[in-house]
Symmetry: C2
Subunit: 217 residues, 2 copies
């Protein structure tokens, strides 16, 4: 169907399209993939020819109906494989992303559907991201971050925005995972650091960046 690179571009463009009010420019795509903008311009041409994206200098890059469909399927495969790796093979949540990054490109037509059934039709992946269904629909992604909460309230971790190993390993160390209860005790007004209590234990202080990368419900 598509090459590995085409698929990675489609996925990157899809991800950027999920961020509200962001114009998808060659530089944005280049940053997101770690490529040179000149290379991105080449691929924009190729994907435009294949009618998977449209490029308008004013509004930037957008996915066509077909392009979005293909991108969502790749995301679906990625997240299903992540569930498999964590639940069936016993990996930790900081180890699965890179492997799923390869597995997502296996292109057999019924594989995702069979895997989904085998896994019991999970709605969310191990990072709390919703898994697109075969029809393209998916649960609403979580959007309220720990940093958005009011002091004195308690919430549950629903998802992580940053899926880098560095962040996920830090969370493992702090004993924070999906479902963990966090109480926001205090916001330090100087730098917006957050004083939190994890599962009712002693207080810990975390940075604003940290708080923005944890999504809660």
């Amino acid at each position: 169907m598509h090459t590995l690179s085409e698929e990675n571009y489609l996925k990157a463009i899809y991800r950027l399209s999920q961020e509200e009010g962001v114009k998808i420019t060659p530089t944005a795509i280049a940053d997101s993939l770690g490529n040179n903008p000149a290379s991105v311009v080449d691929m924009i041409r190729k994907l435009t020819d294949k009618q998977l994206i449209a490029y308008d200098k004013k509004s930037g890059v957008s996915l066509t109906t077909q392009g979005r469909k293909d991108a969502v399927l790749i995301v679906r495969r990625h997240r299903l494989w992540e569930v498999f790796l964590l639940e069936k093979l016993g990996y930790h949540w900081d180890e699965i992303h890179d492997i799923a990054e390869e597995l997502e490109h296996i292109s057999d037509t019924t594989l995702a559907d069979r895997l989904e059934k085998f896994l019991g039709f999970p709605e969310y992946d191990p990072h709390g991201d919703p898994i697109p269904q075969a029809n393209g629909k998916m649960a609403k992604p979580y959007s309220v971050s720990l940093a958005d909460m009011q002091t004195g309230t308690t919430c549950q971790v629903a998802a992580v925005r940053d899926t880098s190993s560095a962040f996920l390993q830090y969370l493992l160390k702090l004993n924070i995972g999906i479902g963990t209860k966090i109480s926001l005790e205090e916001k330090i007004s100087y730098d917006n650091s957050l004083v939190i209590s994890i599962n009712g234990n002693d207080n810990t202080t975390v940075s604003q960046k940290f708080g923005e990368n944890i999504l809660v419900e």
Copy 2:
């Protein structure tokens, strides 16, 4: 570690090296991969530089210790994934080879070991080929074919030599799978066709080629 192409060449060379008394020439490799001999000569140079193979005009291509090790790991992954696809995802045995052909290249260090454990340390893949263990050792491959049997004897299907969909689907139609009991009723001396009884049912006639591609015990 290696590129997709390098891995496919290593695997092809390994497979040829399993066939007794066959000199591994550029044309043999080209035939086995569906490539042009000129391309093979390029890759022989590359793999020789990487010290994965040795090429001697007299004796042909051979794997170095490292090359064999790498090839066996790819075969290990291929066969483990085939077991997964059949046993966990419900594919039939004629559908799994091509998917495993892609999955075998996923290169995470612990993936094969975890998969093996998850599958309960299977010794043979769904086609009856032995699965190399983590230490490189594996059960002896089956080698006696149905065509080698004496008239009047009964045996059990242990493996198939040909894993093409055409052959496997024919076997599905005849209700022959691993473990099926076959009695050899008669050998037609004219063309070596075989008259067999499958699981004690009415006689069926199959070709010599057919009989040579079924391994029994």
